[in-house]
Amino acid sequence: MKTIRGKLLITLCIAFQSCEMLDFVEYHPYDGHISGATGVNAANIARIEKSCRGKTVVRFAFMGDTQRHYDETEDFVNAVNARNDIDFVIHGGDIADFGLTREFEWMRDIMNELTVPYVVIIGNHDCLANGSEVFCKIFGDENFTFTAGATKFVCLNTNAIEYNYSHPVPDFSFIENQIDTNSSEYSKTVVAMHAPPFCEQFNNNIAKEFQNLIRNFPSLQFCLNAHEHNLTTKDHFDDGIIYYGTPSIDKRQYILFTLTPNGYDYEITEF
């Protein structure tokens, strides 16, 4: 009798474990119980910095707002994989729509099918409920930088309205520190964010100060944003620094940027 009970217990334990491994049980849609890859941005940044080292021409795709558009994101991934002239992809944020744990995993698994590395910037939808905690675990810090060729990319959390002043958004200390960090290793800068200045998410009280601060980066080329779901090119501060806003992924478009020693080009690419 005892051995039968023992066997039953072992079988139950195995059943428990396999259910969990197969993602067939779920404790809560917002449980933050993550399966699969974490720290995705850091791993991909290492790949980007390695593959772009010494390159004078760097080409990257900028897209975003994939929220609940799994099919279109999959098509985007296939379109990028069909080319061989892109070095990496920047996702401009809103990878999730409701902030559900599973949404981050579903989108990560699609983006992981890219043959080139990618990084994801945090969007306002990614902050919903405990989304920012899940985002940081799966992708990484809300503010981060990386260097591709001679260009430093500064990726910032600008979703101020989501944080109730609980910590600084955008984080001026982070930006100031980055202006002084590794400045000998790059000569140009691109600043990327989800929500652009003067939209309802941004802390518009300090929009001009933000711009003055980021202009201290060596040779700021342009800024990138998502959030507005349509293609936008705006010179918000009349200082020649253009903010390029990417269409949301359901528009089946992304912006392809080419950084050259003399400047940069961009084209809107449909898929």
Partner: protein
Amino acid sequence: MKLLNFRYLALVLLLLPARLFPQSDKLLPAHCQIQYAGGMGFVSAGIGWEYCKHWETDVFFGYLPRYSTKEAKGTFTLKENYIPWTKKMKGNYKIAPLTCGMYINSVLDDDFWISAPDKYPNMYYSFSTKLRFHFYVGQRVTYMMPPEKCSRIKSISVFYELSSNDLYVLSAIQNERLNLFDILRFSFGVKLGFVN
């Protein structure tokens, strides 16, 4: 204010079976249960009432460990079960070949809201992070205690359920990429009955 409204609604739904059956013993819970997973916590425990032959109303408090988030959370669930038929088996067993129903789960945490707070522009987020609507189908096996045992516990049931929720279904309808395995979840539990 809206949170208050939800609490009133939950209270009315809880008291509804008692209103339908004013006899005092019907106010007492007919069963208690414990459930593993199912979108209401790692483990949830609660009590329930049975009425109109096929219907049950359960309430649960659930525990959700922190995992990759900053804190563990409690949840509250209001669950309505419909059991269309049961079949007596050999011995003291009976089975319910189909159980189905829906439940509303609420996360007891301030980072979750029923409707978007006033800081946002009107209609900025048009869904609730706090309330999730789940639906399920499942099966149940019940062992009826022999009457001579005179136990307070009259029956023991084990059940399992396959469930999904409003936002998963919405996402799957709109995307071929997502299939049933992505959105269906398995859960199971034990129920102790206090009435024959």
